[in-house]
Symmetry: C2
Subunit: 193 residues, 2 copies
Amino acid sequence: MHDIFFAYVNQHSKYPLTKDEQSLITAAFQLKKLRKKQYFLQEGDVCRYTGFVVKGALRQFSVDDKGSEHIVNLFIENYWATDRESMIMLTPSQYNIDAWEDTELLLITRADMLDLMEKIPALVEMIRLMDERNAIATQRRVNSTISNAAEKRYEEFAINHPQFIQRFPQHIIASYLGITKETLSRIRKQAMK
Amino acid sequence: MHDIFFAYVNQHSKYPLTKDEQSLITAAFQLKKLRKKQYFLQEGDVCRYTGFVVKGALRQFSVDDKGSEHIVNLFIENYWATDRESMIMLTPSQYNIDAWEDTELLLITRADMLDLMEKIPALVEMIRLMDERNAIATQRRVNSTISNAAEKRYEEFAINHPQFIQRFPQHIIASYLGITKETLSRIRKQAMK
DNA sequence: AAAAAACGTTGATAAATGTCAACGTTTTTT
DNA sequence: AAAAAACGTTGACATTTATCAACGTTTTTT
């Protein structure tokens, strides 16, 4: 299990992991299996773990006053599932994260992660890279959301995230884009011509 | 000028800057003054600098096919103005950044910043903190945008960013929220009752 | 002090998107 | 194999938001 993660770290750092470092990582990350629909995080709880997705798919969503779900993030293999705000601030999360498919995660607490980062330079580099990519992707998403109508948002999404279109049903994609499933259905119908 | 930045770093790190570190910083950051309306970054250019805002206010915006501007970010004192995607990927920026007020920036290239980070632990810590806060704020913004109608988005914005409401006119705020200035005007009229 | 530009507001109307209900199909569960 | 659940689509209609044009006020420039 951890091998997949070692490969991921090595791909994102110029310092190959030593055997000792691999042992530290194995000790700090614990494997967690989730069945489909099982929660990884529930609204109101403080998020204690960051989860590296070894296998499977998850969604992060909030629920509004009317009970409607809004998909904030989608995660598949090699993504990091967590609510950073809750984890860092130790505040109750406004989000839920649940498994959309049977999923395997490698979990680590924030304290253990900070500890590992003092010992393993490769991890620090990998996380900085992850933060950069995340910042870029989120910036793009914000720009697309405020600049474009629903149709163009969907087009850009389909180009930037073809993997998500494979793995998640349309109503989930629609919610991620901030539109209803009916609107997305009509947009796709239009686009087919 | 740099004193303000030293204070900022010390506030965001548990390692106080030494005299030597301060010298390194002074050598790497150059002061740049911008008059109101002057560009810091123009669409199509590769973003070479990160700018720490010592004084003033700027906006980052994209321009769509119809020539309309869309405000992606706003910056005031103690904010970092840059286009990370362009800077990291070395690709032409899709954004413009210009001064909304007369502004003073401390500029640093990515290479110099990476160099400084190897020498100054306080900077590394400060930047990680900055990345965390940025990730949290952007996540909130995305969630608000996909979950709420214009009125609630404005309410949340007003609560989370009262400083921006002071410094920027309504049509800029409206664009930041992804709505037109007319709609924001009507929302505010409603809310007054 | 005069002129120009920027800003905010309002009304009339159009366009985009949401809501609700119904239905057929596919997938999953029993 | 049957039943249930999940999914996607469509129509009718309501609501939200955008667009366009006009106008008065404030701020900036000349």
